[in-house]
């Protein structure tokens, strides 16, 4: 009994829990930076570790040691709580995604809804963080983050319900298991995959949807006032969000850890995750930033109808 609890604890703390998730997050920040740098004809991180592999970790440590300034006018409690709260959200969501085996650390009927709810909570916390820091740039950034959420949340939810309808389950692990027997959903629902990837790009606030923190417009947007440890945690949150976005695509559309041959399931999962993250980075290097009104009208005019069309197609085919 004690042994079982020990294994459970190790799973939560080490693999596939906190430690490995954070390491994976750092690794994918490096992959993302290096890949975009190559696309832009630059080198990217070079000197810390082999090929700059340890650069994200070095940045994290450097930020931890830096001065932590709280603006005098800020709501001190909320301002300090938001980074911790924000960090816990994507970690929680990642626990519901099966990585090492076909069932996740925690899985229950309806955890897909929970993960979607968490993605909304992230934006709400961003807004609270922006509001509590009382800077003008933060406020504008926070408002933009809220507006952005109103644009992409609906099409993303509709698109992600697609796999759930076919698999007849709202549990991510079961959707993954369904795909081990059937065809991956990327082949049967390409439209849904496209809509979901675009919406996830908005969710993780990358170019062309880095509107809430457009450097040249509103300094660092909602991040402007955060510094030191708080900024370090927020940066880590971003990396985890990138992993979460990639994992969502992998589990819902690419069959999660399922694969063929002798390779263990987690290896397959990471191969697919890498492909998804490279896709997200690639899109990032191709475009200029949209304006918030353009994103809102684009999301409602094109993404939502496309997502609905995908649902209608699924219903027609299964009927």
């Amino acid at each position: 009994m004690v042994q079982e609890e020990m294994i459970c604890l190790l799973q939560i703390l080490l693999f596939p829990g906190f430690l490995s998730l954070i390491l994976v997050a750092f690794f994918y920040e490096w992959v993302d930076r290096k890949f975009v740098a190559k696309l832009q004809n630059r080198y990217g991180p070079l000197h810390t570790g082999p090929g700059g592999l340890l650069q994200p970790f070095a940045d994290f440590v450097k930020l931890l040691s830096k001065e932590d300034i709280t603006p005098r006018a800020a709501d001190k409690l909320l301002f300090s709580a938001v980074p911790i709260f924000l960090l816990s959200l994507p970690l929680t969501a990642l626990f519901c995604i099966p990585m090492a085996s076909y069932s996740a650390l925690t899985s229950f009927e309806g955890d897909l809804i929970l993960v979607m709810f968490i993605t909304i909570l992230i934006v709400v916390s961003v807004f609270i963080g922006a509001w509590s820091s009382t800077s003008r740039f933060s406020t504008v950034g926070g408002i933009r983050a809220g507006l952005q959420m109103l644009s992409y949340e609906i099409p993303m939810t509709i698109a992600m319900v697609g796999p759930a309808i076919v698999a007849k389950s709202l549990c991510i692990s079961e959707i993954v298991q369904w795909q081990t027997t059937g065809l991956w959903f990327i082949f049967t629902q390409p439209l849904g995959f496209a809509v979901a990837s675009i919406c996830l790009l908005a969710e993780i606030q990358r170019v062309p949807f880095d509107i809430p923190r457009a450097e040249t417009e509103v300094v660092a947007g909602w991040l402007t006032e955060f510094s030191g440890r708080k900024l370090a945690l927020l940066r880590l949150t971003e990396d985890l969000e990138l992993v979460l976005a990639g994992s969502m695509l992998t589990s819902l559309y690419l069959g999660g850890p399922s694969g063929f041959g002798l390779a263990p399931p987690f290896l397959w999962f990471f191969i697919k995750l890498t492909a998804c993250i490279l896709l997200l980075s690639n899109l990032r290097a191709l475009f200029a930033r949209f304006r918030i009104d353009q994103l809102a009208s684009g999301a409602w005019k094109y993404l939502t109808p496309l997502a609905l069309l995908q649902i209608i197609l699924i219903e027609l085919i299964s009927w």
Partner: protein
């Protein structure tokens, strides 16, 4: 409570490469009003010029602007040469034009990268700045320097363009021409660029004329005005070229105008290299300039550059005044910004290709009445006394 919210833009802001302050009144994402506050990088160059000899001044003039250093020195040497009533040799005139056009190419590449950065298109920014290295290498080859070329001297130019250098310039121009064609295609077909630039920062032709816009900003509002053609200097009276204009009146057409100006510059340089006259590079000139008042004009990459010189028969100028193109574009800029979105502020400001350290002199602009005036030190001092008495 009024829904108006003030957002400061500068003096320190990531979108501004130099310090300048714009106070925006916004209603949600819309800009209702803008008040520019100039003078953060005022360096007192004009006063310093009066304390130095004409030869020393050349070095100071060169440092008014990092990018259009050649335009400023050309303007200055023209003024002094006119005061001295000397004609510079034809070869020197051609070399001045060649360097001026290379500088224009350099400036437009740099600007394209900045514009891409302002709209968040980092890849184009990296590419444009990589290709800018080609033209910077050419300038280094000619003059020995990458930015402050120090090519001009009173009475001619300092260095020659040998046949060997000229063939390397031709090779470099081929690359620059091809790359710019590619960027022009991207900027006029890539959707995300178009939605951010088309219809943004509109400056109607009538406004452009009445607010005295200059340079590519003016030409993108479909006004055919260019000092090179209207009041030819250097070798521009002998080199055929056409003035690029566009009728879009927005940031997109400013991009296309500048891209096409690069093609035009390439053609000008090719022609000038082909028809480079032989002869000496400079004439010897006296050190003192007889009393005169001279206005000299040059089409800098950013627009019309006006220098005013009053000499008093000594070897130092009695008064020197520089009107850089950015200053002329500020009233037009305010017009473009009002009614736009917050997100369009950086691209609109970048659209006029601002160079604040060129511009910051004792000049004042009232954004409400579009009135601008210039004060000398004494007037400013008196204004200061009055202002503090009121407090």
């Amino acid at each position: 409570m009024s829904p108006i919210f003030n957002i400061p833009f500068g003096p320190q802001h990531p979108a501004l490469k130099e310090s300048e302050n714009f106070m925006f009144e916004v209603d949600g994402e819309r800009v209702v009003d803008v008040t520019p506050r100039l003078g953060y990088v005022h360096r007192g160059i004009e006063k310093a010029l009066e304390d130095r000899t004409y030869i020393q001044d050349m070095h100071l003039i060169e440092r008014i602007c990092g990018i259009c250093s050649h335009a400023h020195t050309t303007c200055y040497s023209q003024a002094v040469e006119e005061g001295l009533e000397v004609e510079i040799p034809p070869r020197a005139r051609y070399i001045r034009s060649i360097v001026a056009e290379l500088e224009r190419i350099h400036n437009h590449y740099l600007w394209l990268g900045l514009v891409a950065h302002e709209i968040g298109f980092e890849t184009l920014f990296m590419y444009a700045w990589r290709d800018r290295e080609v033209v910077m290498d050419l300038l280094e080859l000619i003059s020995g320097n990458r930015v402050n070329y120090a090519m001009n001297m009173i009475g001619g130019v300092r260095r020659d363009i040998t046949p060997e250098i000229s063939s390397r310039i031709r090779k470099g121009l081929k690359v620059l021409d091809e790359r710019m064609k590619y960027y022009e295609r991207i900027c006029s077909s890539e959707r995300t660029v178009l939605v951010r630039t088309r219809g943004v920062g509109v400056l109607k032709t009538s406004d452009a004329i009445s607010l005295c816009a200059v340079g590519p900003t003016l030409r993108a509002s479909n006004v055919k005005r260019d000092v090179r053609a209207d009041d030819p200097y250097a070798a521009y009276d002998e080199i055929p070229f056409h003035i690029v204009t566009h009728d879009g009146c927005d940031v997109a057409s400013r991009i296309v105008t500048r891209c096409e100006e690069v093609f035009e510059s390439v053609r000008i340089i090719r022609y000038a290299l082909e028809h480079l006259p032989t002869g000496p590079l400079e004439v010897l000139v006296p050190r003192t300039v007889p009393p005169a008042e001279i206005v000299s004009r040059v089409e800098a990459p950013r627009g019309e550059n006006i220098h005013y010189l009053r000499s008093n028969g000594t070897d130092k100028p009695a008064r020197y005044k520089v009107r850089a193109p950015t200053l002329a574009n500020i009233p037009a800029l305010c017009k473009m910004l009002i009614g736009g979105y917050i997100a369009d502020i950086p691209i609109t400001i970048a659209g006029i290709d601002p160079c604040f350290s060129c511009m910051d002199r004792l000049a004042f602009i009232d954004a409400n009445t579009d009135r601008s005036w210039v004060w000398d030190g004494e007037q400013l001092r008196r204004y200061g006394f009055k202002w503090y008495k009121k407090r």
